[in-house]
Symmetry: C2
Subunit: 267 residues, 2 copies
């Protein structure tokens, strides 16, 4: 589907980043390879694949599927030469819904389950490039932190054995740029699209916006409004709630960097 | 997901239409319940559901999934009170990839396979309302005919046991309205979105634009350009090519009329 190709310098940055993560480097990926799509990972044994794909279909704003690999496959079409077992900075291994470990290399986990089906799910880091290009500060990038993410009180639509709540990411946006942020992100429905909520975090059942469930605490300045987008960590909440025997995911904020320009997903 | 509700008169039209089809009325549905979403149907035995959902995910422009019902379920969330076994004007029953019959009631077929999983897939009739509202004539509506549809030489991305080619629908558009038609339909990525091809049908491997594979022959007038959109009959081409033991679909052009306004799928 890639019609708009990455520039040589973008490609070099993406490939260098994946190579560094493969060699063991660990850092949140927000801002890496500006203008290229990043993706969330969830890999499950083949007999759970239909449930995951159906959950994604029924909750498309949180779980926009960019690619589904065949069982056992590890090279993404979105990044030729990639290896999903090694090219993400940090992983999470889940056993019966519990976080078991956070390795930087998932090869061992893959050896345990050679039939894993991997789903790459759109990430809001994609439209952050559009915000930055429009002169809207992405605070966690400025601060060199991970984006804050929160579990909410909004239930996702169940699918098969999967249930769980919506997870959101938050960016503080100046009041006079909220409309721009909505419109820019809204052009990317394949990577969460427009926000799900603007303003009071309590509206999503978030008790303390300064205490995110994943990522780092935000810095919200005077005149800024918290803006919440559906987040690709939502499948991890479903894992916690639904307890499949095994799952592999990225660590929140530590994404799979692809070779595909964001513009391919713009409406 | 429905946030924008249908008007009472739209709802009455949709419900009356479904009731008429349930009672045996047969007619193409283009133009019925103006402004409400119509959908393609494909129902397969549960052990084929993952292949269909994956095929749709990998070919989203042709197969944008609006709803996946649980195995055996027959009432669509997009039309409360509906029954997918009876509420479509005409069906196609497929056995081993061959068209076996075209009943107006699919209850008997359902009794054979009580585990059918039904997929409702977006239909280009949805954005036709937008074209009409913009003063762009939808010729097959004017003529009271079915839209012309064509098998093409473009292969879809395979998924599991499913392969097949892209099917397209065609509408002749005046040269000075092609850009408008592209932009209007492009706002509805969940119902095929922007055209896949404009102009010479040979570019899609279509030998004779006057001899569609499904629907009725077009009437292309001087100054008009053939504009081709991805079509929700694409899964039927996959059935023909891949020969699952059983499948149930709508008959091309005879769609499932929902209660959901098009605007819910506009970006």
């Amino acid at each position: 589907m890639t019609r708009i190709l990455a520039t040589p310098s973008q490609l070099a940055e993406a490939r260098d980043a994946r190579a560094a993560y493969r060699a063991g480097a660990i850092a949140p990926t927000s801002g890496v390879a500006h203008g290229l799509v990043q993706a969330n990972l969830i890999s499950v044994p083949a007999d759970w694949a239909y449930d995951v794909l159906l959950y994604a279909q029924r909750n498309p704003q949180a779980c926009p599927v960019l690619e589904v690999l065949d069982a056992g496959a590890t090279e993404s079409l979105l990044a030729p030469g990639s290896d999903l077992r090694t090219d993400i900075p940090q992983y999470r291994v889940w056993r019966d819904g519990e976080l078991a470990e956070e390795p930087t290399d998932a090869s061992t986990a893959w050896e345990e389950h050679p039939d894993l089906v991997s789903f790459l799910i759109g990430c809001s880091f994609t439209f952050e490039a559009g915000l930055v290009d429009a002169g809207i500060e992405v605070r966690h990038q400025t601060l060199g932190r991970n984006v804050p993410m929160y579990r909410t009180n909004r239930a996702c639509t169940p699918a098969g054995r999967l249930t769980g709540e919506l997870v959101v990411s938050m960016r503080p946006i100046p009041g006079d740029r909220v409309a721009d942020a909505v419109q820019i992100s809204g052009r990317y429905p394949a990577v969460h699209g427009a926000p799900v909520h603007v303003g009071d975090a309590a509206g999503l059942g978030i008790a303390d916006v300064q205490a995110p469930d994943f990522g780092d605490a935000p810095e919200i300045r005077t005149g800024e409004v918290p803006v919440f987008w559906a987040c690709g960590v939502t499948p991890q909440a479903a894992i916690m709630a639904s307890k499949p025997p095994f799952a592999l995911t990225h660590a929140p904020g530590y994404m799979f960097v692809t070779d595909v320009p964001d513009a391919n997903y713009m409406v």
